[in-house]
């Protein structure tokens, strides 16, 4: 264990190494570049590979290619680059190739304000690529959590054969905090399920009890086909309804039936709390402070911090909404995750506290919302 002063972006890099990441492809973009700089230095030390590609489209493509070759792979980017990566997020979902995409959110749209923080890509992380697809997106609130959730992101991507998005924001990415780096050997690492059948029996997209078919790497003697077209259990293109329909159901089911494993959150509320603050990312830091102040004023306020924002934590929010009258959702956007909260809030009132100008939502703004009724 070594205690260091570290920024979130560096912690993401160390988390990736701890998770077993051995390939990184990226393109420089503020405010995510430190992830690339750190891994260009550290990956060769452990025999891993780093490459700076010609753009973000190529970066995610290279990650998927390397993952098909058997290396745990990651890329990191921000707003404009994340927009460019959308097609390949869909490709990774369609082909069920594990990979991790880090988006250190900056103020948008367009070039926006590269050095200002934002949580404007919440809905893009869910729906940015075309077509129905499952996705996992994680959202750390601190430097040490950036490390932990990067490890989780890799583990989920391998376990469920899915792209996983790690949504930081500029505040978490660039903020420096004390970080106690754990011993890598003590970290739980999940690898993709290897196949144990002979090559002639292998079906890369076949049925399996877990809905996650075993994955063979190219070069390991299992020759098969990968395509972004709808495909049959062998991976060959299909137009048959009886092959398309089970596929789309299975890839959604593999996430939906594992929500207990995937949906991570921190909760500090009880049914007597008539007001509960639901937050994530940098906004959760302001929320935590506001709740502390409110409690000092003897207000009974609860708090839920979502670490997994996709799939949405419906169960806990709906359960809380049965007793809470007001749910306060602070976000550095004009109300994105609040839409999801509203969807499951029942008769509770959802109060939005928003900023989309590059500044954090302040604890005072949240406190005002808690106090106003």
């Amino acid at each position: 264990m070594t205690v260091k002063l570290m920024q979130g972006n560096d912690a993401v890099g160390w988390g990736a190494l701890a998770a077993g990441c051995r390939f990184y492809a990226g393109y420089p973009i503020t405010p995510s570049t430190e992830v690339a700089e750190m891994l260009s230095r550290e990956l060769p030390k452990v025999g891993g590979k780093f490459i700076q590609m010609e753009d973000e489209i190529a970066s995610l493509a290279a990650c998927i290619g390397a993952s098909v070759g058997g290396l745990k792979s990651m890329t990191a980017t921000s707003g404009p680059g994340f927009s460019l990566m959308q097609e390949h997020i869909g490709y990774a979902a369609m082909t069920e190739v594990p990979c991790v995409v880090v988006n250190v959110q900056r103020l948008g749209p367009s070039t926006g304000q590269p050095t200002s923080a934002s949580q404007g890509d919440v809905m893009q992380a869910r729906w940015g690529t075309h077509g129905d697809h499952p996705i996992i997106a994680l959202c750390p609130t601190s430097v040490s959590q950036s490390f932990d959730l990067t490890v989780k992101a890799f583990n989920f991507s391998e376990k469920y054969r899915t792209p996983v998005i790690l949504l930081l924001d500029e505040v978490i990415g660039h903020m420096r905090e004390k970080f106690d780096m754990p011993d890598f050997d003590a970290i739980e690492r999940v690898d993709r399920i290897a196949t144990d059948v002979p090559p002639e029996w292998y079906k890369p997209y076949g049925d399996s009890l877990s809905d996650v078919p075993p994955m063979a790497n190219f070069g390991d003697g299992y020759r098969y086909h990968i395509t972004g077209l709808f495909h049959d259990p062998h991976g060959y293109p299909t137009q048959r309804l009886d092959e398309i329909d089970p596929w789309i159901k299975r890839v959604h089911r593999k996430i939906e039936r594992n929500l207990h494993d995937i949906v991570l959150y921190e909760e500090d509320w009880d049914p007597t709390n008539k007001t509960v603050v639901v937050s994530y990312g940098a906004s959760a830091r302001s929320a935590r402070h506001a709740v502390k102040l409110a409690r000092q004023h003897r207000l009974k306020v609860g708090e839920i911090t979502l670490l997994t924002i996709w799939p949405f934590a419906e169960e806990v929010i709906a359960r809380m909404a049965r007793t809470a009258r007001r749910i306060i959702v602070p976000e550095m956007n004009l109300g994105q995750l609040a839409l999801e909260v509203e969807r499951v809030a029942g008769r509770s009132k959802v109060v939005r506290v928003n900023r989309a100008n590059g500044e954090m939502v302040t604890p005072q703004e949240i406190l005002d919302a808690i106090e106003g009724s």
Binding site: F23, A25, P44, K45, G47, K49, I51, M53, E54, D55, I57, A58, S59, A61, A62, C63, I64, G65, A66, S67, V68, G69, G70, L71, S73, E87, H88, Y91, N217, F218, G219, D220, G221, R223, Y224, H225, I226, T227, G228, L229, H234, Y236, P237
Partner: protein
């Protein structure tokens, strides 16, 4: 049936799975596929050690028919996917198969940078001067004046010189042939695969359905014959004045040099770094 089993290609195809193919009868893409299979067979590569990566379009459909590690990726990005795969598995022979629109329009950036890095990928570009799968729109290699569904008054853009671009960007092997010259095409593909660095083979083909019909160039056979008549070996072409060469397809190995291959160089970098930190 017994005849099929004796054919060289049989061993390399996925016959029970995805035939017949999607191509129009008379299409030149099958000739390229056959030349590729013979080239791989000549070298004696193990099927497990070959990966074919393609993009989108008629040519992009080629890998699914062949019994290797095959990946049909997104439009234009075959080389970017192949770059990741090659870096992860340098021992694999990674071959990308792209059409002209795929490789040079939407994928032009990756084409240039893959050549620049001299990464050990064989890139085969089947140039049929048109976007075939979408029904005949003009591509970066459509000749000036050629008609397409999106160039109803004739194309006004000059065509992209594929081989010259690859050479200028840094490819270590560059060759051009046509689907009429199947044996020559096979030889160039074999040489490109044997090369450690980035090798490009432009396989000039035709699209009688999308381009031939609009431009009144006749049947597939007529267009095949035109490839014979308008192409010439590099040695012969060099004897012509530049203006005489203008509308000719020059066939030959246009560029062949030794340059350090990217993944080999990266392994050296890893070795150096690990040595300097005491080989942990």
């Amino acid at each position: 049936m017994a005849q099929h089993e004796e054919h060289t290609a049989y061993e390399y195809l996925r016959p029970s799975k995805k035939f017949p193919n999607v191509w129009c009868s008379g299409c030149g893409i099958g000739v390229v596929m056959s030349a590729l299979i013979r080239a791989i067979d000549n070298i004696g590569l193990e099927k497990d050690n070959v990966a074919l990566v393609s993009g989108i379009g008629c040519t992009g459909r080629m890998p699914v028919y062949m019994d290797f590690n095959t990946m049909h990726t997104t439009h234009g990005r075959a080389l970017a996917f192949a770059t990741g795969l090659k870096i992860a598995r340098p021992e694999l022979k990674v071959i990308t198969i792209m059409g002209d629109g795929d490789a040079l329009a939407i994928g032009g950036n990756h084409f240039i940078h893959s050549a620049r890095r001299n990464i050990g990928i064989t890139a085969i570009v089947v140039n049929n001067n048109i976007y075939g799968m979408t029904g005949g729109q003009y591509s970066p290699t459509t000749p000036i004046g050629g008609r397409a569904t999106t160039a109803p008054y004739g194309n006004i853009e000059p065509p992209m010189p594929i081989c010259e671009l690859a050479q200028a960007a840094g490819a270590s092997y560059v060759a051009r042939s046509t689907v009429y010259h199947a044996a020559e095409l096979e030889r160039y593909i074999e040489q490109a695969i044997r090369k450690d660095g980035f090798g490009l083979v432009e396989a000039v083909s035709y699209c009688h359905t999308g381009y031939g019909r609009l431009n009144k160039l006749g049947t597939a056979v007529d267009m095949m014959r035109a490839l014979k008549e308008t192409s010439m070996a590099q040695a012969a072409a060099q004897k012509l004045a530049p203006e005489e060469r203008e509308n000719k397809i020059v066939r030959g190995v246009l560029h062949d040099v030794e340059r350090v291959e990217y993944t080999a160089r990266y392994q050296q970098l890893i070795d150096q770094v690990q040595q300097s930190i005491g080989g942990r």
